[in-house]
Point group: C2
Chain length 220, copies 2
C-alpha cells in the first residue's frame, strides 16, 4: 500500500475514515488493521483520527454499525419458512462478504440496535406464524447464535484451507488419529472434509431447524 498523498485539509470525515477502515479490514483482515496503519492510508497523522473517534474500539464499532445498517437483512414476503431462510442466508452472506464481522460481532454481541431490521423481520415473521412471545424471542436468539456460529466455523475453515502450512498440519493430525480409539472419526474423515463449509452445509442446518420449528407449530 503506497502511503497516500496527504489529504487536503478538511476532506476528512467520520464517514471517510469508516469506509477506509472497512476497506482495509476487507483486504488485510483484523490482524493487519491498526490505528497507525489506517492513518497512514489516509495520509494523516495517527492522532488526527482521534478528532472523529474516542479510540480504536469506537472506530471498530462504527465499522460494524455501518455494515449492519447498510445491509438489507429483511424479508417479509412468502411463508414464514421462506422468510426465516432468506433472512438467515442474508446474514450469512454479509459475513462471508466481510469476514471481519465475525471478530467485530464476537467481541461484543449484536445489541438490539445493530441488526434491528433483521430482528424485526424475524420476530414479526415468527409472531405471525403463531409462535407466542417467548418462543419467538427464544427462536430469534437461537437462530442468531446458530448463523454466527456455523458461519464463523465456515470462514475459519476456509482461512485454514488457504494456508498451506495449516493444511499440512491438519492432514497430519487427522492421519495420526488412532483408529482403535476414534474409529468413527477416522471413518468420517473423508465425509467431513467433503461436506465442510459451503452453501449445502449451511442450508442443511437451517432446514433442520426449520423442520424442528414446524413440529412446534403442528403441536399447537
Amino acid at each position: 500500500m503506497p502511503p497516500r498523498p496527504r489529504a487536503p485539509r478538511n476532506t476528512l470525515s467520520r464517514e471517510l475514515v469508516v469506509d477506509t477502515a472497512l476497506r482495509m479490514l476487507d483486504e488485510g483482515g483484523i490482524e493487519a488493521f491498526g490505528v497507525r496503519a489506517l492513518a497512514k492510508e489516509l495520509g494523516v497523522g495517527p492522532m488526527t483520527l482521534y478528532t472523529y473517534f474516542r479510540g480504536k474500539e469506537e472506530l471498530l464499532d462504527a465499522v460494524r454499525g455501518q455494515l449492519l445498517d447498510t445491509a438489507s437483512l429483511t424479508c417479509l414476503h412468502g411463508d414464514w419458512q421462506h422468510r426465516v431462510r432468506t433472512i438467515c442466508q442474508r446474514l450469512r452472506q454479509l459475513i462471508l462478504d466481510h469476514p471481519c464481522l465475525i471478530h467485530l460481532l464476537s467481541t461484543r454481541p449484536p445489541s438490539g440496535r445493530d441488526a434491528a431490521d433483521a430482528a424485526e423481520a424475524l420476530l414479526r415473521t415468527l409472531t405471525e406464524a403463531g409462535f407466542d412471545e417467548e418462543t419467538a424471542a427464544r427462536t430469534y436468539t437461537m437462530l442468531l447464535g446458530h448463523v454466527l456460529g456455523v458461519t464463523s466455523l465456515e470462514v475459519q475453515l476456509a482461512a485454514e484451507h488457504e494456508d498451506p502450512d495449516r493444511r499440512r498440519h491438519i492432514r497430519d493430525t487427522m492421519t495420526g488419529l488412532d483408529p482403535k480409539r476414534h474409529p468413527a472419526l477416522v471413518a468420517h474423515t473423508a465425509a467431513l472434509r467433503r461436506t465442510a463449509g459451503g452453501d449445502a452445509q449451511f442450508e442443511f442446518g437451517l432446514e433442520l431447524i426449520i423442520a424442528g420449528l414446524e413440529r412446534h407449530t403442528v403441536l399447537k
Copy 2:
C-alpha cells in the same frame, strides 16, 4: 497479583506454564493475558518461556489442547437423543467454565484432533442411529457450530450484563428504537431480556435441532 518469588532453578515445565496461563486466563480474561504478565506471575523473565514454546500462539494452542483433552466430552449410553444432548451440554459447560475457550476456538477452529472424543462420540451415535455418512458429518459440523455460536452469544451477553456502562447503553438503545419502524422488536424487548441466555435458552435450541433430526430419521 504479587510478583511471585523467583522460581528455583529447574522447577519450570511446559505443564506448569500451561496451568498458570490457564489460571490467568480464567481470572483475567484474554485481554489481561500476555507473555510478560505470565512470566512475572511465574517469577521469571519473559524470555524463559521461549524455552518451552515457540511463541505466544503455540502457548495458547497448548492451553486450548489441555482444556479439550482434560474435559470429558463423551456420552455413549442411552438413546441417540440423550447422547447428542449430553455431549453438546458438556461442551457448552466447558466453555462456560472457561470463557477464554471461545477466543481460543474462534481464532482457529477445532481441528479433528482437538475435540476428538466429542467428535467420535457424536459421529458414532449418529451412525448407529441410522444416519448415512454424509448426514452424520453434516450434523456433526452443524451441532459444533451451533453450540459454539449460541454459547458464545451467551457468554458475551453475560459479560455485558456485568459492565454497568454497557448495561445502560443497551437500555438506551433499546428504548430509543422507533416503534413505527420496529414494532415487533419493541414489543419483544422484555421477552428477549427475560429469555436471553441460561440453560433454558440453550436447551430450547438443542431440542429444536433434535426434533428436526427425528424428522430426518422418520423420513427414512
